[in-house]
């Protein structure tokens, strides 16, 4: 059996991005937990350090270069089952925004920020 990984149609692989969070994201909803949900606000301070606000946490991070680039592959739709399975390179991540520091909780004021 062979599975083909095709190069990007432009040859030069477009640069994609990645955010790395130390931990898990959890959602209130059980079914289709993440689809279409807002994650948070991404800011940069004037020194270029990224800051992410998720829920009531503030995460500070840094830009980190990946040791080796990570290619993002997408499976090609097969017209019939006898075709060879193919993947296509969509993009390549070379650097990430790494949030590995302990998040700082936001202490909410009396006016609740949750709108349900």
């Amino acid at each position: 059996m062979q599975i083909i990984i095709n190069p990007h149609k432009n040859l030069k692989i477009p640069i994609w991005s990645m955010i790395e969070l130390q931990g898990d994201l959890q959602s209130n909803e059980k079914a289709a937990p993440f689809h279409g949900k807002i994650i948070g606000d991404l800011h940069y301070n004037l020194e270029g350090e990224p800051m992410l606000i998720i829920g009531h946490h503030v995460l500070t991070g840094r830009v980190a270069k990946l040791e080796k680039p990570l290619a993002i592959l997408k499976k090609k739709q097969k017209e019939d089952e006898f075709e060879v399975t193919e993947y296509e390179v969509q993009g390549m991540v070379v650097q990430k925004l790494l949030f590995s520091e302990r998040p700082r909780p936001i202490v909410a004021n009396a006016d609740a920020i949750f709108v349900k």
């Binding site: 991005s17 790395e20 606000d41 990224p50 592959l73």
Partner: protein, 351 residues
Amino acid sequence: MSIARRLVLEYLHSIAGKHLHLRYLLSSRLNITLEGNMNNDCPRTREDVEKTLNEAKIKTLVLNPCTQILKFSEEEAAYTCLELNKELLETLESGQCLVIRGDKSENAVLCTINKTFELKDTETSNSLLIIKSIDNHSELKYLQDNEAEGRVELRIVDKLVHNYLEPRLCRPHLQIVRQLLNKQIFKGQENERNVNTYDLYSFDKLLTTVQASEEELLKELKDLNAIEYNGFWRLLDFEYHFRVFSFITTFIEQESIPLDKINMEMCSNAYEEIVPKEIFEQVFKYYTEPSENMPGYYSLNQDKVCRMVAESLLKDSRKFNLDEFLPVWQESVLPGNIQFPSMRLRKITCS
């Protein structure tokens, strides 16, 4: 290092029932113009963002005024992540494909044209959010000059992953090649009608089973002395091989050809009734090298000739006293013309 922390994802606005009439300027730069983003209204406004910053006691003064709102896509993208080393990246960017080979029951290997890599499924406890593009600080800074006030832009997160494929250079798995070719050893054209084509392997068919790159597979075929005949790779039956070998040596002897000026064409023509040219020439090329003295002609590889003779002598007899063997061997090889120093003997017998 990685302690599992739970970050709770909360809705800050309920989307249902809220009429989002504000549209935010998206970047005019090409790599930000994502069709997905264009269709989505940004679910958070400048005011929302500033309110959150206020609650977090963060001053907007210390921040780049552009904020990117991260949101998961409606449908999860079917993406797989593959770590690229130098060879893999070069292969892809030069327009060549990578091929994963193996049986469903085997561990997958990834191949370039000449290297084989084991694929490890690597898991991390961290969450990796894959996003087509996020502006970095320097890109946002540039935009800032055109804008009067802070901008809020939507960025879609295509997928959250914990796994990626990690390739590690490995030896190709070539033991199976001999096994496959042994199914239908070539014993002569007369025998071919008994052969089941289903058990024959072309180079392409071998690649669907053998976990190796093309160049590594080709080298293995050459090392096995396999020959390509009618599009299929075959191992030659020893008797048949020896017959072809004998034709070559007989021809040289009979025509009294100098050992470094052998004409392949003439040789193969002489036997084309008996041995298909395709096979003859491949065997011929095994026992010869292109002649240095006369381009277009071939020189006999004396080591290989001696080895073949030795092999045929030893094949049938179980035991052969070295003292008795040596003279017999010497005589069996082409008399007179071939140098037979004892050094060669030792080299060949030891292998």
